[in-house]
Symmetry: C2
Subunit: 216 residues, 2 copies
């Protein structure tokens, strides 16, 4: 599949690209195309040293949308609206969001927009034919970056279009040892996104690092 990653030079984008570029064509998008190319070249080199041929290219964020059958929005929540509104061409795309709106005082808390979640806000901003799927929300950026480390967490996947959800669940299961769980409609995204500030609090208050989650 062709996977365009908006904000692909960030931890999640890079981590996903690294783990999927053997079997899929990855378009690492960025506002800064040079940075995207640099990230892509580094990745190809690092994987080549392990005997893995990576199908990867650095592009603009718009190219990542245009070229991807699946588009991953790998940006920080505070840049979400401005990023999405600068792009077009989402019609009929599967759009994957790992975005979590988080606030912080002396602890972390869930701080969603009025739509109820980042995923529901994205749905509102995009054409009706775009199929929004929430996934990869609760895996720490630090874990994504550790490219040789096994990721054996559970990933709750939610969305209103079943076929798109199943495709994304398949993609999740290609990444390391992640296990995908259908978590129901896109409305579930508020709960799934809110788990991220919860596990950040658990890390903080229990002296843990990079806390993840498993359902079983």
């Amino acid at each position: 599949m062709k996977i365009g990653i908006i904000g692909g030079t960030g931890d999640i984008g890079e981590g996903l690209a690294h783990r999927l570029s053997q079997n899929h064509e990855i378009y690492i998008g960025s506002r800064d195309k040079d940075k995207a190319c640099e990230t892509s070249e580094c990745m190809i080199k690092a994987l080549s040293e392990k005997g893995i041929s990576a199908h990867c290219q650095g592009v603009t964020n718009q190219d990542a949308v245009d070229m991807g059958d699946i588009v991953v929005i790998s940006v920080n929540y505070r840049h979400l609206e401005s990023t999405i509104k600068s792009l077009t061409g989402f019609e009929d795309k599967i759009v994957v969001t790992p975005v979590n709106p988080i606030g912080k005082t002396d602890h972390f808390y869930y701080d969603p927009p009025e739509e109820g979640s980042a995923a529901l806000a994205i749905k509102k901003m995009l054409p009706e034919s775009a199929k929004i799927v929430g996934a990869f929300n609760n895996i720490s950026a630090q874990k994504w970056k550790k490219l040789d480390e096994v990721l054996d967490y559970s990933v709750a996947v939610c969305g209103d279009d079943l076929a798109s959800k199943k495709i994304v669940m398949g993609l999740v299961e290609e990444v390391s040892e992640l296990t995908a769980y259908d978590a129901g409609p896109l409305e579930s995204s508020s709960i799934i996104e809110s788990i991220t500030p919860l596990i950040l609090n658990i890390a903080k208050y229990n002296n843990m690092k990079d806390v993840g989650i498993k359902f079983y």
Copy 2:
């Protein structure tokens, strides 16, 4: 410790009582004292057959509040307000809430009151000196009932009074193989409670039973 369980004849109440009555004095409360006594006697007998001496007594819900140093509110959310408002004497008590406000259409969803969570609603209803602690929210009733089965889940514990929270975390860790995690202030209760409809959805959409959660 003396633990009063309001609604102690329900699955969670009975399951907790069964697993804690060896080391603590358990007061199984009910609106129906006869039912509480019957549950208590059954439990004493069942544990005695395993060579365990249970410290357990059936009482009214009001007695459970009066006698407990720790009071567990083991009632369904729809009965929460009427139950709490029928009781007095919560001053200075540690009050543990596993209550989750859940709605259901073709899927489960989180349906909190205006206060933001069941725990925050309880805090509002009780005297200021009562110390509310959220715990045991995400363990399925069916698992509680299987009295010989090991429970090896993670339990997120939240509350504003650190000492009370630590006491409850200690109690959690006495139950089977549960692991307690400090999840921060009582405000975290909305996220923790919402995990329950999420895991109910995961069970529904993935043909699983009694889904639980682990943080690691």
